[in-house]
Structure formats: C-alpha cells, structure tokens
C-alpha cells in the first residue's frame, strides 16, 4: 500500500491521466481555489443518501497548517452502511472524528463547515457534545479497552448514562452487547478479569461491545476488523448488517471485499478530497473516477 500517494502525485504532476480527465485537473488545483467551489462540487457520483440522518457539508479540517480534509460534503443515511475507503493518510479517520466531534480533543485541529445530526447542527450551542457522543458512537482503529474488568468495560457507558436501574438490567445489557459483538462465548467465564488481558482481536470486539452497549444512533467504525481473523470478521460483518436495521453506520476499511460485502454506499477519499461517492456496486463495478478505479483495482504502487 505504500507509495500510493507518491505514485498518484507523480501521475498528477506529469498529467499522465490525459486531457479528457477532469478529476485530475481538479485535484491539481490549489486548495484555495477549491474552497470557493460549491459544496461537494469536487466529488463525483452522488453524495445523497436515501434516508439522510447525518449531513456534512463543506467540511474542512486543518491540523495546524496541514489541510487534512478539503471541503467534504457527504450524507449518512439511516438504515444503511457507508464505507469510507482510500489510501493511508487520506483523511478517513479525520473525517470520522468530525462526526462525533472527537477532533475537539486534538489541540491543533480546526474543523469548519456544517454537520447536522437529525437536522440539528452538531456544533450548535444547544447540542451538548457529551450527548452527541452518546448518540454517535465510535470504535477506534486501535483497540483501547480501559484497564478495568471486561464487565466494567462494557458497563462503563450504560453506567455513566444511567441506562440501567438495577444490577440485573446492567447484566442484561452487558450480556447482550458481548453476545452481539461475538465475544460472549469466549469471555463468559472471565467477565471480571481485566479487559487488557484479552488478545488484540478480542479487545477490538470488546470495544465494539462497549460502543453498542449505549445504543447509539450512528456508529462510526474505524477499521474495526483490521486485527480480526476471518471468523471474527464474519461475526462483525453480520453484526454490522444487523445494526443497520436501526442505526446509521459508517465504516472505514482497507479491505475492498469487506466494503463490497457490508456497505450499501462507498466513498473514496484521496489526499483529503472526497473523490467519489456512490452506491457500492456502482463504485466497484463501474467507478466514475480514474483514481477510484486505480485504487479498487489495486493498480497503485
């Protein structure tokens, strides 16, 4: 996967994409020029979701001087899974973190643009960031269980939000969440051992269980399966499919097959630009953009 950016940059500089290829020219243009263009004008395909729940328009993220996300507009629909794909460092994680305002915790990050959740602007004073994060849950790229017991890891969210009034209810939430994350069988006899003592893949499923335990409306998953074996991956994919019935799901993945299997729509990011969004089968069978095509056919590097 390395050398992807270089290869493309090289192609862009030498104009090897040919004259009839507007996307390449667009990417070559300076960021300043692009900021003037209307929302999503640089993106080909269709940014709209059938049943939009979160809507990002004209989102820019700067880390200090580094313009990490350039004018991205994208709708995230209820009852569907959208996959974010693209080469390493293209801004997938950064975009994901905008959606539950986790970028607030990064000192150098500056987010501009509009993002609404169910019609309400998430940066608005009236919407509490704590409440937002309870509604928009996130599974991180690297598993990060708390140094607490497995049980307490899952019970953490329900406890702080007061979701269970009795011990039995809490037990039920923990059990259900672990079950759905496909971890229950492995940990049912060691619920009170530390979560950090699990294997990497088990930790990741624990983090997924922890996230779904607070029943968020939108779930952001940053490469949730990168540390999992095929069996656990299949479980998670089944879970995602099941969660889709009630929730909106955004998943970042480096696996084309996974994107094709679990998502209804796919968005391709490239060096901070949202290059193309469309129905997954359209993107994979008939990509509209040369960069997308090169990426999904593995022609980079």
């Amino acid at each position: 996967m390395y050398g992807v950016n270089e290869g493309v940059a090289e192609d862009l500089r030498s104009g090897r994409f040919g004259a009839g290829f507007s996307g390449a020219e667009m990417l070559e243009n300076s960021a300043a020029q692009r900021a003037d263009s209307p929302d999503g004008a640089g993106t080909i395909g269709n940014i709209q979701a059938a049943n939009p729940y979160m809507v990002a328009s004209g989102v820019n993220v700067h880390y200090g001087d580094n313009h990490a996300i350039r004018n991205v507009s994208l709708e995230i629909g209820k009852n569907e899974v959208i996959a974010l794909i693209g080469p390493s460092g293209c801004g997938k994680t950064t975009f994901l973190r905008c959606l539950n305002r986790m970028n607030d915790t990064i000192e150098s990050a500056r987010v501009t643009g509009e993002i609404t959740l169910d019609g309400h602007e998430i940066h608005d004073k009236s919407l509490d960031v704590v409440a937002l994060r309870a509604r928009v849950g996130m599974v991180f790229q690297k598993p990060n269980p708390f140094p607490k017991s497995i049980y307490d890891n899952v019970a953490y969210g329900p406890r702080i939000h007061g979701l269970a009034s009795t011990r039995a209810e809490l037990d039920e939430i923990v059990h259900g969440s672990l079950q759905r994350a496909g971890l229950w069988e492995e940990v049912k006899n060691r619920l009170h051992e530390p979560g950090t003592g699990l294997s990497g893949g088990q930790q990741q499923r624990l983090c997924i269980a922890r996230t779904i335990a607070v029943s968020p409306e939108v779930i952001l998953m940053d490469e949730p399966c990168s540390a999992l074996d095929p069996i656990a991956t299949a479980r998670i994919e089944d879970l995602i499919d099941e969660l889709r019935r009630n929730y909106a799901i955004v998943i970042v993945t480096h696996s084309m097959q996974q994107a094709a299997r679990v998502s209804q729509r796919t968005a391709y990011f490239h060096l901070g630009d949202l290059v193309e969004v469309d129905a997954t089968n359209k993107v994979f069978s008939n990509p509209g953009h040369r960069l997308t095509e090169d990426y999904i056919t593995g022609r980079f590097g």
């Binding site: 539950n100 986790m102 915790t105 000192e107 704590v130 409440a131 937002l132 994060r133 309870a134 509604r135 849950g137 996130m138 991180f140 690297k142 990060n144 269980p145 708390f146 140094p147 607490k148 953490y156 969210g157 702080i160 939000h161 950090t196 983090c207 922890r210 996230t211 607070v214």
Partner: protein, 459 residues
Amino acid sequence: MNTLTLLTLLAAFALGAFYLGRRRSLLAGGGARTLHSLPGYYGFYVVIWCLIPPLGLMLGWQVFEPRVLTWLIIEGLPESMSSLPQGPLNLLLNDIRNLASGDLVVTEVSEVMTQAADRYTALLSSSKFWLSTMTIMLALAGISLATLRITPAFRARNKVESTVQMILIVASSIAILTTVGIVFSVLFESIRFFQRVPLDEFLFGLQWSPQMAIRADQVGSSGAFGFIPLLTGTLLITAIAMVVAVPIGLMTAVYLTEYAKPAFRSVAKPLLEVLAGIPTVVYGFFAAIQVAPFIRDSGGLIGLDVASESALAAGIVMGIMIIPLVSSLSDDAITAVPAAMRDGSLALGATRSETVKQVMLPAALPGIVGGVLLAVSRAIGETMIVVMAAGLAANLTANPLEAVTTVTVQIVTLLVGDQEFDSAKTLAAFALGLMLFLVTLVLNVIGLRVVRKYREAYE
C-alpha cells in the same frame, strides 16, 4: 616529582599512545579496510595499557605507603619505644611525622626522635622517587607492548569494549559499596548502642530523654531511650504533611494534565518546580516565623491552647514543600496513560470529569501511589522544617497542636556540640538513623514495586 606532575605526564603519554596506536594500526595492514576494528579503537587500546597499570600502581601506593613507612620507622626505634602500647606509640609517631614536616611538636624532642624524623624524610623522598620511576616505566612498557600486539586481525574493539564495561561496573559498584558501607557503619554503631540499652527498651519505651549522668552522684539523669514518642511524632507530622500535599498535589496534576491550556501548563509546571527547589531551611523559618504564630493566634481566638511550636505548623509547611513532588509524579503517571483511554471514554459520551475520575485516575493509580510513597519517605526524612517549627519536646501525643519531635530532629540534637564518641547518647543517634533507614527503605521498596508493576500495564 609530585602527583600532579605525574598525572599530567601520564595524560601526555596517553595522548601520544592514542596516535601511536592509531598510526601503527594504519601502517600494519594495507589501510583501514583490512583492519578488524576502526583505527581509533587501536588508539584507545594502547591508551588503556598506558593508563590503567600506572594508575593502579599509584592507587596501591597511596594505600600502602603510610603503613609501610610507619612499620619501617617503628622497626628502627629502640626497643624501649617500639614496645610501647598502641596509644602512646601513635602519639610518638605523630610527633615524629610533625617533626619531619617542621610542624609543632607536643613532647620534648629527643635525639632518637630527630633521627627517626630524618629517616622518615629520607624514606618519604625515596618512596616518591620510586613511585615516579615505576609509574613512568610501567606506562612506557604498556605503550610498547600494546603497540607491538597490533596486527590487522587484532580485535581491538572487543578489548576496548570489555575494558569500558569493566570501568562501568567499577563505577556502579562504587555507589553500591558506599551505600553498603554506610549501612554497615550505622549497623555496627547501633549494635554498640544496643549493648548499653536493651533493644526492647529502645523499641517499646515510651520515654525519650537521652541525658546521661555525667557524674555518678547526679540525680534524675539516668537517660531514657524510648523510641515510641519519636516515632509517633514523626508519623504525626508526616500524616499532616500528606493530608496537605496529596489532595492539593493530585488536584494540581489533574488540572494541569486534563484541563489546563498548554500555555498555562508551560508556565505553571516550571513554577511548581521552583517550589521544589526552595531550600528546606527557608521553609523552616517560614514555618517558625509565619505559620506557627498564626496557628497559635487563631487557635487562641477560638479558645484553643496551641503550643508556639506545634506539629500542625511543621506538618502544614512540610506538606507545602512536598506538593510539587506529589504533583509532578502524579502528572507523569496521568500523562503516561495512553490518550486512547481518554478518547475511548469521551467517545462513549463521558464528560471530562467522569473520564478523569473513572478512567484516567484508576489507570494512573499505581503510579500515583508510588509517588505518594516516595513523598512519605521524603517527609519522614525531612529535618530542617521540624527542627525549626515542631520543637524538641518528645511528647507522646496525637494532638497536632502540641509540640512534638521527630527522629531526624533528635539525631541532630544528639550530635550537635561536643560529644563523647562512645556514650550511649551519641550512639543513640546511630540507632535512630538505622530505624529511619529501615522505615524509608521499606517505603521505597514498596513504592518502586508499585511503580514497576504499573509500567508493565501498558507495554
């Protein structure tokens, strides 16, 4: 030749040896490529041979010269003098040495003594001569032998590295041996103390008044060496100090790591460290002159009888002194918790304070506990503030408003002024020192263990 000249000469030799070794290695083979090691290593190899044997010789000379000389002088004395008992013999030898160096002499100078002094001077100068000659010869021999051994296949790097390793081992054992030496000297003096005062009387006695009778008929000064009042005094002051330092230090650390803007943090941290750099004697008079009278006066206002030197004053000021220690160790412990923990908690919709209370502090707890234990041993060992603000009265009390005294303060008072070196009073200081050492040792071991366990948690 005096020692300084000799050392300078050796340094010059070493410089020469380096270039010689280096050049020789380059000339020996067909250039640097054929050599086993880099040319510099051959230089250092020769330097090692040029320096270490002569330095060893000088050190040995330093150690054995006085003994050998003394022995030679005694041998040369007439039977009547050399068979004197230890004490007078030492005095005599001292006089002879003084005579030789032209200093004042206590006793009458006899013919024999003048002769002995002359012999001493002669021996001294020939000893110097032989030392210089042998040192220089050893250095030159070392240089030539080492240079001759250099061939392209010679493994100079390995030799140099193992020598460096030896030097490192010697350096680290110096620190260890010093500690062991101190411990043993304290231990032996304590044993002498316990021969006079029974161990159980010391450990469980409730009375501390180390005045011994100077004359046999003196009344009321038999001396009592009960350790308990000192221990309780120490613990009382330490507890007060911890009550002040731990909450404030911990809250400071939480604020600085979790809430403060980087700009504020970059100002506040160095300021706190300045607080740690204030000499304890300054805290001491702050306690004695500002805090103690303030406590006495405000106690008076609400009808409390407060001693002008109180455990409370000393404890509070000591706590202030320890705040930076607690806050910077807790700060390190909290900062060492991976940011992913915080993110994980925040992403579940926890507030900052929930995150701090339920994730960051528990994760950092072992480190914080380790830091607090280190602070406790610092408080137990602290002397100056207590000397100045808590008084000298060995009261057995748990009332923080009374004057108490601590182990360290008593060690100071026992040893201040003229002392006989084998009275129970003086030896008691060593016994107290041993107790102090044991208590802080145990605390440090616990602290280090906790800290180590905590390190494993995230690796």
